[in-house]
Amino acid sequence: MNGNHHSNDRPAWINRSTQLLDDSVRDLDAVTLSRLNRARQAALTQQRPHAPRVWLLPAGLASACAMLLAVVVWQPHHRSETQPSAAPVAVDDGDSEETSTEFYQNLEFYAWLDAQNKGGDG
């Protein structure tokens, strides 16, 4: 392809022209050669294959686990902080506890009352 451009069946001035063109590219300066080299490397770099992303699966699983753990740990905290309706229930519990204490304190009275009622019925 490139080697056959100085042929005898062409006019001499064409052979002379191609010879001059050959001469012009033979001794390029170092800066130009360096830039050509960089251009070539840049072109070749884009062809190199990228490693398959095998780390993506474990990384994804780890992230999912971490998120799940965060949700589990954070959720009860969040619930206790955001449920003020628990307070009235606690008040109710206090009332019933007081009532039951009173009941046990008067247990003998209730037993006597029950015996009186049974006696009255009999």
Partner: protein, 200 residues
């Protein structure tokens, strides 16, 4: 080695095979690009008129060639590379034509007195790449004659006479008919002969 291969997963083996094939292909590509880059730079320089622009065009052509045609058979690489380069040179020429049209509008408004003739003059210390390298009157004349040719005629001359492509391949590279290549080449040869006849 077999043990190592046994411990590799399917995707890793596939990747190793691809790396091996790619490195072989890259060596061939590197050799090919080394072989064509200087001539490509000269062609681009004749078309662009500046080495910096020519280097940008060549790099662009190399990247596009590797990206799109690296997997093609090696015998097809030269015509394909020159096709990409020719396409990039056409784009550059088109952009420059549009830019010149716009600049012409503003340049008309400028006063001639504002132009410094010393700044406008060519740098006498830099005789130009072809002239510097050839260092002869014939080289200067050839450089001037080639730059004066229209883009398509110059490409037809360089591809046919310098690169040595046949008419059909040149037509494929220039994306035109074989008849157009012959016409462009005929006109280019006539223009060059007129310009260079004093230096034969």
């Amino acid at each position: 080695m077999a043990e190592i291969a046994g411990t590799m997963t399917g995707s890793q083996l596939e990747f190793a095979r691809r790396v091996d094939a790619t490195s072989t292909n890259q060596r061939a590509l590197d050799q090919f690009l080394r072989g064509v880059e200087r001539r490509a730079l000269r062609m681009a320089e004749l078309a662009c008129g500046s080495r910096d622009d020519a280097l940008d065009v060549v790099q662009d052509a190399m990247c596009a060639f590797v990206k799109n045609y690296a997997a093609k058979p090696e015998p097809d690489w030269a015509p394909l590379f020159h096709r990409v380069l020719d396409s990039r040179l056409n784009d550059f020429h088109r952009r420059r034509t549009v830019r010149k049209r716009w600049l012409a509008v503003f340049e008309r408004k400028e006063d001639d007195d504002t132009l410094d003739p010393i700044e406008q003059a060519q740098d006498l210390q830099d005789p130009g790449p072809l002239l510097r390298l050839a260092g002869s009157e014939a080289g200067k004349a050839l450089d001037a004659a080639l730059k004066a040719l229209p883009l398509r005629q110059r490409q037809a001359f360089l591809l046919r006479m310098w690169e040595g492509f046949d008419v059909a391949t040149t037509a494929r590279v220039m994306q035109c008919s074989e008849g157009s290549v012959k016409t462009h080449l005929s006109r280019a040869l006539a223009a060059l002969r007129r310009a260079l006849e004093d230096h034969q």
